[in-house]
């Protein structure tokens, strides 16, 4: 029995896959039969003509027999499917305009979706590139190495833990001195991430002590670019920031540090023992790996106890200590989660609009082919077969759309990543994989079936007799179908409105953000980061000599004005110090106010064009040996001297060992945004570099204002720096405009994408309503002809048609407003100084959409009116 079934299936398949050969064989067989019959008749005495005629008559229709045989061979089921596909492709190719429209519409929707899904998939859904990533935690707060070590010793929940702080290092082993990113770590850091080195080994715990061996683990990129990919590199020495380090390991190519970029890894205890021994300076990013079977809440409870013990033991530094643990993936993806989901929602809307357009195209096509289809139904084609055929057609279209969409997506993803959203740089491996492919295939198939079913179903329900009669236009099916079409157009408008409102809110927020005054004039400013080595510039006088000489040489260049500051605005982080004010009771230790502490030299405020609000600026005379002075910002004055008696007050850093070195406040300058335009300004103190007693402030950023082209300036500055000391790397050369743009990168990324999608949605919706109105007007051409012939004024007819469209548009817009109010709340965190229901944005969007609807209705209406009534009346 089973063998029979197998034979049966095999036979059907064979017949299916070599249809041409099979057909030829059948014909051959039947022809042979016919000839034999003819020969027989001739033998019995008939003439050849008579014999042939007889045989043919007896034989009947060759085609019919063949068809019967074909069915007998049992291929009809499979074959009719292939026939449907064949038929679909053929008819689609016959109407290239329609096909291109449908495929492109879907491809846009599917392509945009896939591109975003690729990112969502890589960022939100894929695991991190570390072994057992679900065990990895990080802390919301930075910590010091001593605290990390204590936690490691006291905890019961962590398998390992470690911290990293990335600082600049100078690598002087190449042709030019370069600044690289040095990861100062403890031995546990790389072990916790769990990635094995490609070559060599990691830093061992025994080496991670004060005075331990100067060993370095390098990244793949550093090994490739600066050590020439030397396979014998292990054990060799390289010069880093004035010391010689032995290379003991090379990390694999795809290894990255979360949130940071590090070229080399050195032990903090070895490379910077002073920093390692500070308990109160929390500068390390901390990572923990859970023991197996331990939950986050258990770890958090454990951490809470340790926090309490540390706070009791070291009240000066650790009072009120509270460490919040969170999964590493959460920490990395959290920043972009809302933005990505909003974008994903937006593209889903675009896809929906595309699908609606697709469905409308199919409906219009079905309507124009109504007679053909009904004729076939009348000739006996089964309803099931007809629906199946239509479905095949729409599925073929959808899959083609998916294919083209995949191409779009591939390009789209590249463009997306080329925009380099800062928050995405943790996820180096954003690529399309099988999940993405399945996703595309799935939505294509679903689109084809779901949106093909709609018109196919409504067409199948139509009455054959009605359709064959001439007056199809007002038949029941026609009304039903036009109701469906109306609903589709209205929903397109609603969806487009939601997207446009979303984009409008982002644009307004971005515009607000852009127009925030940073407090200085960013145009024509270049910035250069320079750090002096500890070996050659160990004390302040040496550093001051270098700085003073460098500024003198720079300012000697005509048309150039240069100054320097420790942490330039938009250049990254900044230092804070605890504040003490002369004559006021100092607050409890651990509760002192924190202020931004900046060192400057040269005419910094004039160079940056930061306005002076009171007192005087710092001058060349505020130097070593002179009375200590400082300038503060307005926020400082507001916060600590609300009565306005700020000038002449004396301040210093709290907790100074020994007597205070009071600085007198001599001036107040305007507030300057430091890290992001949407963050408030912190109180800040500007003090002269020359009067600083913090010799470890060896870094500075040159700010140079010049009208010269930037490339010339860069060369000149480098030359002047190296004329003083050829071992100093000049890095992070950037114009102030670029720095500020960088701080807005994420906002810009969101904006560009959402605006693109909204534009796409508007375009699709416009095409949708235009196509729909054109179709409706063409259906009513006859009617319009009658009106005009009866003396209706063009204006009346125009009004009648426009009313039709206006009702649809208004319905859609109304629904869209309701939808937007519900949806835009989700984007609150992405908006700056804009409420999610901003009336201006809403009204602007409504105006734009109404205008589009108006134009889309007006053009076909105008065209119908321009037909002479005689033509219109004859038009069917």
């Amino acid at each position: 029995m089973f063998r029979d079934a197998l034979h049966d299936a095999w036979f059907r398949l064979r017949s299916l896959f070599s249809p041409r050969l099979q057909k030829a064989r059948h014909e051959e067989e039947l022809r042979f039969h016919l000839e034999q019959q003819v020969a027989k008749y001739i033998n019995s005495g008939m003439s050849r003509e008579e014999a042939t005629r007889r045989a043919r008559v007896q034989f009947g229709s060759l085609d019919a027999i063949e068809e019967e045989c074909w069915n007998a061979r049992g291929v009809s089921l499979l074959e009719s499917f292939l026939q449907d596909v064949h038929y679909a492709v053929r008819t689609l190719l016959k109407t290239p305009g329609f096909t291109a429209c449908a495929v492109l519409t879907l491809a846009l929707g599917i392509g945009a979706n896939t591109a975003i899904f690729t990112v969502v998939n890589s960022v939100l859904l894929n695991p991190l590139p570390y072994p057992n990533p679900q065990e990895l935690l990080t802390a919301r707060q930075n910590d010091s190495l001593l605290n990390i070590q204590d936690t490691l010793n006291q905890n019961r929940t962590f398998a390992s833990g470690g911290g990293i702080n990335v600082l600049t290092m100078d690598f002087t082993g190449g042709p030019e001195p370069v600044q690289i990113h040095g990861g100062y770590v403890n031995a546990g850091f790389l072990q916790t991430l769990g990635v094995a080195p490609m070559m060599g080994r990691l830093i061992a715990a025994a080496e991670d002590v004060k005075g331990g061996p100067r060993n370095v683990v390098v990244s793949y990129g550093f090994w490739k670019n600066f050590l020439h990919g030397d396979p014998q590199v292990l054990g060799k020495s390289i010069p880093l920031s004035g010391n010689s380090y032995t290379v003991i390991g090379v990390m694999p190519r795809d290894f990255t540090v979360p949130r940071e970029r590090a070229d080399v890894f050195v032990s903090l205890w070895v490379a910077y023992p002073e920093g390692a021994a500070y308990r109160g300076v929390h500068f390390m990013d901390v990572y923990w790996r859970l023991r197996p079977e331990v939950t986050l809440s258990q770890a958090q409870a454990d951490m809470g106890e340790i926090d309490q013990r540390l706070a009791e033991r070291y009240p000066d530094n650790e009072r009120g200590r509270h460490t919040t643990l969170l999964p590493l993936h959460e920490a990395l993806a959290g920043k972009v989660r809302t933005a990505l989901w909003v974008l994903f929602g937006a593209v889903a809307l675009v896809l929906l609009i595309a699908c609606v357009n697709f469905a409308m195209l199919l409906i219009a096509r079905a309507a124009s082919r109504q007679r053909e289809i009904m004729t076939r139904a009348a000739l006996g084609a089964g309803v099931g077969r007809l629906v199946r055929q239509r479905l095949t057609e729409s599925t073929v279209l959808a899959l083609a759309g998916g294919g083209v969409g995949l191409l779009f997506a591939w390009t789209g993803t590249k463009v997306l990543l080329a925009l380099k959203p800062v928050a995405l740089q943790d996820f180096s491996a954003i690529h399309m994989d099988s999940a993405v492919f399945l996703f595309v295939f799935g939505i294509s198939l679903l689109t084809g079936i779901a949106f093909g079913l709609l018109p196919a179903w409504s067409a199948a329900r139509a009455n054959v007799a009605d359709a064959l009669r001439e007056g199809t236009k007002m038949s029941g099916a026609g009304v039903r179908r036009s109701r469906l079409r109306n609903a589709l157009v209205a929903s397109e408008f609603a969806l487009a409105l939601v997207l446009l409102v979303g984009a409008g809110l982002l644009i307004k927020g971005f515009w607000r953000l852009r127009s925030v005054d940073p407090g200085f004039a960013p145009a024509n400013l270049m910035t250069f980061y320079i750090a002096l080595s500890a070996t050659n510039y160990e004390d302040t006088p040496k550093q001051t000599a270098f700085r003073r000489e460098l500024l003198a040489r720079l300012n000697a260049v005509s048309g150039m004005r240069a100054a320097m500051i420790s942490d330039v605005p938009f250049g990254g982080g900044y230092l804070t110090h605890n504040l003490a004010i002369d004559g006021r009771l100092s607050p409890a230790i651990g509760a002192e106010p924190e202020v931004q502490s900046l060192s400057v030299m040269g005419d910094y405020f004039r160079t940056m064009q930061i306005p002076l609000r009171a007192g005087r600026e710092l001058t060349e005379m505020d130097r070593e040996g002179q009375p200590l002075v400082a300038v503060v910002n307005q926020q400082f004055a507001r916060q600590f001297f609300p009565d306005g008696d700020v000038l002449g007050a004396r301040i210093d850093w709290a907790r100074r060992q020994g007597p205070h070195k009071w600085m007198t406040i001599v001036g107040v300058v305007a507030d300057v945004k430091h890290s992001r335009l949407n963050l408030p300004v912190d109180p800040a103190i500007y003090a002269p570099y020359a009067q600083s007693d913090e010799a470890w402030r060896r870094w500075m950023t040159l700010v140079v204002r010049t009208e010269q082209p930037s490339s010339q300036t860069v060369e000149l500055v480098k030359k002047l720096v190296w004329s003083l000391d050829s071992q100093i790397p000049v890095s992070d050369v950037q114009s102030m405009d670029d720095l500020m743009a960088l701080s807005l990168a994420q906002e810009r990324f969101n904006l560009i994408l959402l605006a693109t999608f909204a534009g796409l949605a508007l375009l699709l919706a416009a095409v949708g309503i235009y196509g729909m109105m054109t179709y409706r007007v063409s259906q009513r051409t006859h009617e319009i002809g009658v009106y005009v012939a009866l003396g209706a004024q063009p204006a009346d007819v125009l009004r009648m048609i426009m009313r039709d469209g206006a009702v649809l548009a208004a319905t859609g817009i109304g629904a869209g407003i309701a939808g937007s109010v519900l949806v835009t709340r989700l984007m609150t965190s992405l908006l700056f100084e804009v409420t999610p229901t901003d009336p201006a944005v809403f009204s602007a969007v409504v105006v734009v959409l109404s205008f589009v609807a108006l134009v889309a209705c007006y053009i076909p209406a105008r065209r119908a009116l321009s037909l002479p009534p005689t033509v219109a009346l004859r038009c069917e």
């Binding site: 063998r3 029979d4 034979h7 049966d8 036979f11 059907r12 064989r25 059948h26 051959e28 067989e29 039947l30 042979f32 039969h33 000839e35 034999q36 019959q37 020969a39 027989k40 007896q58 034989f59 009947g60 019919a64 027999i65 019967e68 045989c69 069915n71 007998a72 061979r73 049992g74």
Partner: protein, 110 residues
């Protein structure tokens, strides 16, 4: 001539074809000729039903087709009985005999 022939009852064509092929492999024309001959021109097989029947039997695996050379040296498709076809023939023949005997008995008793 046409008026002498009898319409074949449903399902008997398969049996006749199997029986004819039990003697030797034949091509389609010869099958119809043989049936006509043996039945003394009483049974005539229409081409319109012969070939679909042959294909159906082939699909079921009861007969096998193979291209060979005909008596007048032409390429022709020859059908032969398979092992399961032979079994099928016995089954159908028994069923047919039972049926005709029963029908005969019914007709005789009046």
């Amino acid at each position: 001539m046409g008026e002498q022939s009898i319409e074949l009852p449903q399902g008997t064509l398969d049996l006749l074809i199997l029986r004819t092929l039990a003697l030797e492999p034949l091509h389609g024309w010869a099958v119809s000729e043989r049936i006509q001959q043996i039945s003394s021109d009483v049974l005539r097989v229409q081409q319109g039903s012969l070939y679909p029947a042959l294909h159906r039997l082939e699909r079921r695996g009861w007969i096998k087709a193979r291209w060979g050379t005909s008596e007048n040296n032409r390429q022709a498709k020859f059908y032969e009985l398979t092992r399961s076809g032979r079994q099928q023939l016995e089954i159908q023949r028994t069923a047919w005999e039972k049926l005709t005997a029963a029908v005969g008995r019914v007709l005789e008793t009046t």
